[in-house]
Symmetry: C2
Subunit: 351 residues, 2 copies
């Protein structure tokens, strides 16, 4: 009786719906500050059925969650998409994981079906938002950070004062494509020597194959013979077992990350830089070289080491830390997004 | 009669006082939105007399301007110092142009003498602020930009929504020390291959001397014999006269700037990047290579070229432009600074 009474007359706690659109999976979750993710729907991303079908699947799941809970208490809908996308309209550019989607206005497509505003954001930015509000940012008590996600590629997101920094049209935070080695390996973005070519899981495997081709990495060659489909995780194990060739790969990952971080620290001077994604699990294998390079390359980093000088003045501290949240960060960020923008921005579905 | 009456009873228009502290010159100016800089005092920076003497000179000049005009209408005092400095306290770190000043809290030192709050800021950030509010930013109708000032070193300042972006403690915008060529020339900052080593006036001269030492730049060798103290301006003239060796120097300046800009565009996605300082006068000598490199290195730049796609959608536009204001930008930025911070921030002398 009380339950039915409460459901009818009490205002439910405000909640949001977040969507994580990936090339393989589609996740839709309902979230509140007190309960976290309290309901969710997992679907395959039906790429072969076409983009309109995927958008309809997404909207159907959002509608299900609204019907199961409350329309009145819905504080907003956040949708994460792989980048690059143009904001606020959520116009997709050429996405390797979503072939044929270029030019789709994701926000308009969803709003036309649902009849309610949604906010679209780059998924790497949403991972950074979650890490800031619920992960390492919260743990360290800071509300600004820059995150690098070392996955298939290298994602990047910047959070300033608890909000995603989008730049002019949503393309800020693409430091995964900052040039690290000007004459380095060709990148899918059209440039050479991008951070992504030296710090992603794909890059770790390629660097190992290059070492094997050079013929001076017996441990890597043995791994390759045993398992031609070896991944960065296998290399991780091999390096931990003491293999010099595998460790050399992670040394280069570390140096490249140090160079990339140094430019970010010199430009942004934020209190926290977070490294997430699968390759971040090799933190103890690459971080020594990363910090060595970062200290060498960035006087801003050296000047913000939290030390106390002769006059008793304690300097500010720049933290560089592994991520805390893991694979959940994307969907969590989508859920958090509506809480971080103003009501008027939510109403028009973008900033 | 009317003049005396007006002076006594009418509220004068609000104005600010700006200070530009340089290693050689000290400028103090009074500024209002309607009149621009309407009074100013120039002094030599008496480095040999010690930092306390310089601070006293500065405060004396500020006081003179207040006495000549109005204390009631004074909206704030902005002080620009060479960086790196820690904000908001204006604590100086190791400044090559102000030897022996390390550790000085510039804001406190000035406030203790004047008894009124002042706001301290990095001079490269102030040049960017002026360029945003009164220069190219105003001309293009944007309120965010990133500026590189190619002088003795390479200064950098970032303006977001009409305000200086300071980062955590005033050290944002040090992209002059982003690594461009990882194995490049040693830099005063302790790193190698910084942008400053390839795009400052000092770098232009060094690159020419390196070409002379290699023995394959007859035009540069002749210039060096004629004038051993040649500067980047002399090289500028030589390149314009068609000398291949001098043009090669500016080609490398352009490529280096393109690499530096690409990382900034990929990270910040701002509407405008401005190149100022003396070397920017060689714009037509280096900009072709700069844009070539920038297009190659930054898909964010390529995606924001203002073009119209097949569906009639016009993309956002990233502008890269020479500065408009010239050497006045530092003092103008110091004058503008108090207008860009909140009253409470002004009252406590920092953000």
């Amino acid at each position: 009786m009380l339950g039915a009474f409460a459901a009818k007359f009490m205002t439910p706690a405000p909640y949001t719906i977040g969507v994580d659109l990936g090339g393989t999976n589609l996740r839709i979750a309902a979230y509140s500050g007190s309960r976290g993710i309290f309901d969710q729907i997992h679907l395959p991303t039906r790429l072969q059925a076409g983009r309109e079908a995927v958008v309809r699947d997404m909207c159907g799941a959002i509608q299900q969650l609204i019907d199961r809970h409350s329309r009145a208490a819905l504080a907003g809908i956040g949708v994460g998409s792989p980048g690059p996308i143009e904001l606020p309209e959520g116009r997709l550019r050429n996405l390797p994981n979503l072939p044929g989607w270029e030019g789709l206005e994701l926000r308009t497509s969803i709003q036309n079906i649902l009849g309610t505003p949604v906010i679209v954001e780059n998924d790497a930015n949403l991972a950074a938002l979650a890490e800031c509000l619920l992960g390492k940012g919260k743990a360290l008590g800071v509300n600004s950070l820059c995150m690098l996600t070392l996955g298939t590629g290298v994602g990047n997101g910047i959070i300033l004062k608890g909000k995603v920094f989008d730049g002019m049209n949503g393309m800020a935070g693409e430091a995964g494509h900052a040039t690290i080695w000007p004459d380095g390996h060709v990148c899918g973005c059209g440039s050479h020597g991008c951070l992504e070519q030296y710090a992603s899981a794909t890059a770790v495997r390629r660097l190992a194959l290059e070492a094997i081709a050079q013929g001076n990495a017996p441990g890597l060659s043995a791994l390759h013979k045993k398992n031609p489909e070896f991944t960065s995780r296998d290399l991780d194990e091999l390096a931990r077992a003491g293999d010099a060739g595998a460790q050399k790969v992670f040394d280069l990952v570390g140096r490249s990350l140090g160079l990339g971080l140094a430019a970010l620290v010199n430009t942004l001077n934020l209190p926290l830089y977070v490294i997430g994604g699968g390759v971040a699990q090799a933190w103890d294998l690459f971080s020594a070289k990363m910090f060595e390079e970062l200290r060498h390359r960035s006087y801003v980093y050296r000047f913000t080491d939290g030390s106390v000088d002769a006059q008793g003045h304690r300097s500010a501290k720049t933290y560089v830390e592994p991520a805390q949240l893991g694979a959940e960060s994307g969907i969590l960020g989508a859920c958090l997004l509506p809480f971080t923008v103003s009501a008027s921005t939510r109403a028009k579905g973008g900033s």
